[in-house]
């Protein structure tokens, strides 16, 4: 637990208690059960299609996950707690359109190399490491964050995918990064370290992948 008093200033801007934020993911699983399994499969399917060069279907599967997460998490669960969450829900819908467009435009096409390996790191972080870190560090198994439904793992996988593709399209990275920053701030004030470090680590990984600085474009233009 972070538990630092420095977090109190930041806490003034977070409208929920740590208990409520942690419970939100249990409730998400209760609410969508058993469909999180299907959306995890869709996410894996998107990765497989990317690997096999099937860009449009990869984009379609990923878009479905973003719409699902927008509705199930942002609109149904998060919005009653925070008026700004409905804006986040619409941002997730925009994200769904973006991944669909990039997919249809042939943007989700696998290419190997070091950068792709970093992409795999982000994908594994989203599908395995972050979800498993929860129960291993004291959060309940019932709150297990499943990629394709829970927003943070979905964002991590979505950030990993362009790194595995040529040409890289960064347009699908903006909304996931913004979500990760928001989520990390909430976990920071809520005292769960693995959740708090997700955004800095993801941004650092993107930075390494694109060259010296996270802000330099690197790679081929989209």
């Amino acid at each position: 637990m972070l538990g630092s008093l420095d977090t109190y200033a930041l806490r003034d801007f977070v409208p929920v208690t740590p208990e409520v934020w942690a419970r939100l993911f249990e409730r998400l699983n209760e609410q969508v059960w058993p469909w999180q399994g299907l959306f995890l499969l869709l996410m894996l399917f998107a990765l497989w299609r990317l690997y096999r060069g099937g860009s449009p279907t990869a984009g379609l599967a990923l878009a479905a996950c973003w719409c699902w997460s927008a509705v199930q998490f942002q609109f149904l669960l998060h919005t009653p707690l925070n008026w700004a969450a409905s804006l986040m829900g619409w941002a997730f819908m925009v994200q769904a359109v973006l991944v669909l467009l990039v997919g249809l435009g042939g943007g989700w096409r696998f290419s190997g190399g070091l950068r792709a390996k970093l992409g795999v790191v982000l994908v594994l972080a989203g599908i395995v490491v972050l979800p498993v870190a929860g129960p291993l560090t004291g959060r309940s198994w019932a709150a297990f964050e499943v990629a394709g439904t829970a927003p943070t793992p979905t964002a991590l996988v979505t950030l990993g995918m362009p790194l595995m593709a040529r040409p890289i399209s960064w347009v699908t990275g903006v909304i996931p990064v913004l979500w990760l920053v928001y989520s990390s701030v909430i976990w920071w004030v809520s005292g769960w370290l693995p959740g708090a470090v997700v955004a800095p680590l993801a941004i650092a990984t993107l930075g390494v992948a694109t060259g010296a600085s996270p802000w330099s474009r690197g790679g081929e233009p989209s």
Partner: protein, 308 residues
Amino acid sequence: MAEYSRRRVLGGLGAALAVAAWPGLAAAAGKALNRAALPGGGGSIPVIGMGTWRTFNVGEDPELRQARTQVLAAFFEEGGGLIDSSPMYGSAQSVLGHGLEKLGYPDSLFAADKVWTRDGGATRKQAAESAASWGLERFDLLQVHNLLAWEAHLETLMAMKEAGEVGAIGITTSHGRRLDQFERIMERHELDFIQLTYNIRDRWAEDRILPLAREKGIAVIANRPYQGGSLIKGLKDRGAPLPDWAGEIDCRTWADFLLKFIVSHPAVTCAIPATTSVEHVRENMAAGRGAMPDAAQRQRMIETLAAA
């Protein structure tokens, strides 16, 4: 508290059932808190109330709603009155409504809410939506939250008060923001209440605002009595001991010490600590009983805390 009926749907049977389910409520009268008179002969309210920012924002979660209902029940069992909320606090208003309905809308409730919208023409609409969330017909107090679109809202609130649609009106701020403007509004408008941050560490209101409130006969609600929690949790976590003389002013806990300091200021009507915990709400309410510090003891409290 209020001299009019504000229960929307619950009749005598509902209230009786609530008392059967929450027997502690019936005993509440025996645990009377110190009360502060409201200016203008508007009765009096217990000196400790309760806030709901963050703590009551639990959404539809049935488990957490039940837990907050228990906090509310303990608040009323301890003789509580004023509860403060806002449309800004996510689901807090409807969570309150849920709990109040379960408790049969205890008579001591003094319902304080806020208007919080940039749309200066939406005062009545928002107030009606908030009242529906609480399950009330009208509020005892409506405040313009953080002075947002305050001119238009205040004008409508005055008209609403005139028409009997609300009991009292006021304005709020926190963290010492926009104090000059706050003061000007107090000087120029007929307010019943102000709400602002006042605690043993944040005492900027002592210079001008609190004296002005006394002079104009405006009731004062002190928000962030524990600086959002950091003050009391810091003292408790460090295991800081209470001073030897704390017993002179009936202080057994840091909650007593911090809250008695606030409500013993002659201009302050009540403090509104927020909590998610039944144990904490009981501890907070206890601060509203027994002896209160005088001016010299208040000064000693400031010095003690600076050294703690």
